[in-house]
């Protein structure tokens, strides 16, 4: 696993934990422990998105993630691709 994949995995783990709390809170909207847990993982995921986008380009539509000279959104790899086999 290369560094990009490792960072993406850490990001996906934090997002997944936040998402699991998110749908739990849909049916338990007053659960304070779940709200605190959601906030913790959401903040962690946001920080990792920022770090990932600064290093490897946009995965969300945030302006800071795009380069000035080229529209980086279209760059390979796309999520369904095995990046080792994809040329830019």
């Amino acid at each position: 696993m290369n560094e990009r994949e490792m960072l993406l995995r850490r990001l996906s783990s934090a997002q997944f934990a936040a998402w699991e709390m998110h749908i739990f809170l849909d049916t338990h909207p007053d659960d304070q422990q779940a709200i605190a847990s959601y906030q913790k993982y959401h903040e962690k995921a946001q920080a990792l998105i920022k770090e990932f986008e600064e290093k490897y380009g946009p995965i969300t539509s945030s302006a800071s993630a795009f380069g000035e000279k080229r529209w980086e959104w279209i760059n390979n790899p796309w999520p369904w691709e095995n990046e080792k086999e994809t040329k830019n």
Partner: protein, 198 residues
Amino acid sequence: MWQYEKKLQYPVKIKTPNPKLASLIITQYGGPDGELGASLRYLSQRFAMPYPELKGLLTDIGTEELGHLEMIGSIVYQLTRNLTEKEIKEAGFDAYFVDHTTGIYPASASGVPFTAAYLQSKGDVITDLHENLAAEQKARTTYDNILRFADDPDVRDVIKFLRQREVVHYQRFGEGLRIATDKLNSKNFYAFNPSFDK
């Protein structure tokens, strides 16, 4: 509205193509208990949901199912790359291939194209939530059946993740059903549709 995140919910990295397995897994893309039907079911039913917990739950689970649709498409895509005509024929992938080459098409393992007849949106909260509880179990059984035929750990890992999400969604829908029935008293339970009768 929706915004796209350029990543999968869970990574799909398959090293070895396997068109035979692809022709089975495509059923979770466009088959009777697949992810396309799941997302359309919840995202359509939500308009008739009378309680905020349930509007949120169907919106969110329907959205997650779209992410699962993308993961299944990615599995089938990666299982069918760099194939020779001989490999396609020997794997029995030739029937799919003549219709779609290696394009991703919503159909079942037996080749039946996706149809909205796979889902219901009944406009009754009790009825719809029972449909959803059954749908999650049917999808879980389908993933169990796929695991019977999948030896590749790269594939099994992703299928096990998706199987586990069916179990979690079943749990959340169960809580949603409890929320709905708690808001109805014993007199109007089944005699009354809180999505329609005011």
